[in-house]
Amino acid sequence: MDEQAVKTEAAMLKVSEETFIAEYLDTDIYLNADKHLGIKAGQFEMELKLSADESELLMRNRYSGISKLLKDKFESQWHKTAWRKDGGSIRFSLRLPDRPVVLKPDMVQEIMPGQVVSAYCSIPLSVQLAVCGSRLAEYPLTVLSKTWFGEPDEGVSGYSLKGQVLASMDKLSLSRIQAVCAIEIENHAAEMLRFERLCLRTEYMGLFRPEGDCIPATSKCRLIYAGRDRMSKISYLNPGGRTLSPPQLKQIQSLTFKSFKIV
């Protein structure tokens, strides 16, 4: 296998992040025994090639700039899947993380009773790989640490995002492998809302590409805070533009979740 890998290096078509985002997303990519791909986007690197008889697709993925422990967890050695000789293709598409994200602002946020506040954050994206029309796997483009939102006996597992909640979208440092998430928080309670964590349920959010914008956007998130001991009402609104991925779960009626970690 190592020998094969060395041969691949020689014939590999290296695809940079810019090229990958511009030309390789949401489009069918056809491979042959001579066309090997090496993709890099964010921390994620992937190599794909066909076996000599073009009956199998071989792939492996790596991550740059992570510790050995993380490498053990996220990286894979060469593995293979069946490939259809005539008309077989692969397709990459952007996806939101497969778990909720927990935003951890730099400082405690306060919202007065009756106040409506708009905020923006960026959410690192994953990429989904489909082979011959079937979804094969999802890979995060940025490795995020896991966290827990809620009490130890009742809560939700999610990814932690630090220092990313800003009042203006212009201040966000964005890349094309992240999505902008607009959040609107309404304080309907009689007391001040002081929170240090905010949980966003990405499973109910879609991913879109607004017209004339190269940065993807998630569904707009509207959170209504009703009080310390009450669940927040949540609704997700379509920001417009082309749909990159629909929500994993359909929002049938208004959702209520614990969304704030109150100070």
């Binding site: 422990l69 896991k146 966290t147 827990w148 130890p152 964590r197």
Partner: protein, 288 residues
């Protein structure tokens, strides 16, 4: 022989027809109920609830079918019930333990302290709940043995459900030498937890200075993790603690004792010499 059977059939054919109908309709009804339970219950019910409903339906169904057949055969059920009452007293004395197990099983099902697939630790055993039956709970150990624990025993015993909640904390007692700075060790341990992908960053790692031990300062280091990550977290975090402590020059001391004769008396003169050469076997005897 055939004639006799035909005569018997002609004499009793209405009863035979009714019995056949009872058996057929009973079996079909049980089949439909079981199928419905498998399909509907497979999505909506917990495995143990499904199991108990399955047993109630089948045992109950077969008892009703049997009693109906007996009724059709003109067997006096009142007399049978009377006899059954007496028999029940006798059987009750003989089957005290079994009845106790059945009732304990029902309490366990209502209370739901664990479900199939949970990892539990009793006073003697550690294993995954394999099945919950009428009389017993079966555990599958990690070395793939099946342990049967009577319901009554598990009802009375204290046990720990290790996987009841989605996250757990791994507590490690870590000892460092008296020469080392505890605050420095805290910083290193926090960093280890932060870098480990299996540690949750929230709830935050627990660090408690436990106190002064015989040969060391003891620290309690608790990290939170998702219950499925136990083995990989335990292995990685212990290896990482040892590696980082070595890098940072923090000593994990082995138990040792200093012999001190007090300030008033001078200390014992100790001289370290080479390993003594072996002496003849009788030398000790001669010295005596």
């Amino acid at each position: 022989m055939l004639d006799e059977i035909l005569k018997l059939y002609n004499a009793h054919h209405p009863v035979i027809h009714r019995i056949a109908m009872i058996v057929l309709s009973g079996v079909i009804l049980l089949f439909i109920l079981n199928t419905y339970l498998r399909i509907w219950g497979g999505k909506k019910l917990a495995p143990q609830t499904r199991l108990i409903l399955y047993k109630i339906i089948n045992y109950g169904g077969f008892i009703i079918i049997t009693l109906s057949i007996m009724y059709e055969l003109n067997i006096r059920l009142t007399a049978l019930f009377g006899a059954a009452g007496i028999a029940a007293v006798a059987v009750g004395f003989a089957a005290q333990n079994s009845l106790s197990n059945v009732i304990s099983g029902l309490f366990l099902l209502c209370e739901k302290p664990f479900k199939i697939g949970d990892l539990i630790k009793t006073e003697e055993q550690l294993g995954i709940i394999y099945s919950m039956d009428l009389l017993s709970v079966n555990l599958r150990t990690f070395d793939n043995l099946l342990i049967r624990i009577p319901n009554e025993k598990i009802m009375k015993a204290t046990f720990v459900n290790i996987t009841r909640f989605p996250i757990r904390r791994l507590d490690l007692k870590i000892n460092i030498a008296y020469k080392d700075d505890v605050e420095h060790a805290f910083e290193v341990l926090r960093d280890i937890a932060r870098r480990n992908p299996y540690c949750l960053d929230e709830p935050e790692p627990l660090l408690i200075f436990q106190g002064f031990m015989d040969s060391s300062q003891e620290i309690l280091f608790g990290v939170w993790f998702e219950k499925s990550d136990y083995v990989v977290l335990r292995n990685s975090i212990l290896k990482e603690v040892k590696k980082r402590f070595d890098e940072e020059g923090i000593e994990i001391p082995f138990p040792h004792r200093t012999v001190y004769a007090g300030a008033v008396t001078p200390s014992f003169p100790v001289e370290i010499t080479d390993t003594p050469k072996s002496e003849p076997e009788n030398a000790e005897i001669e010295n005596r």
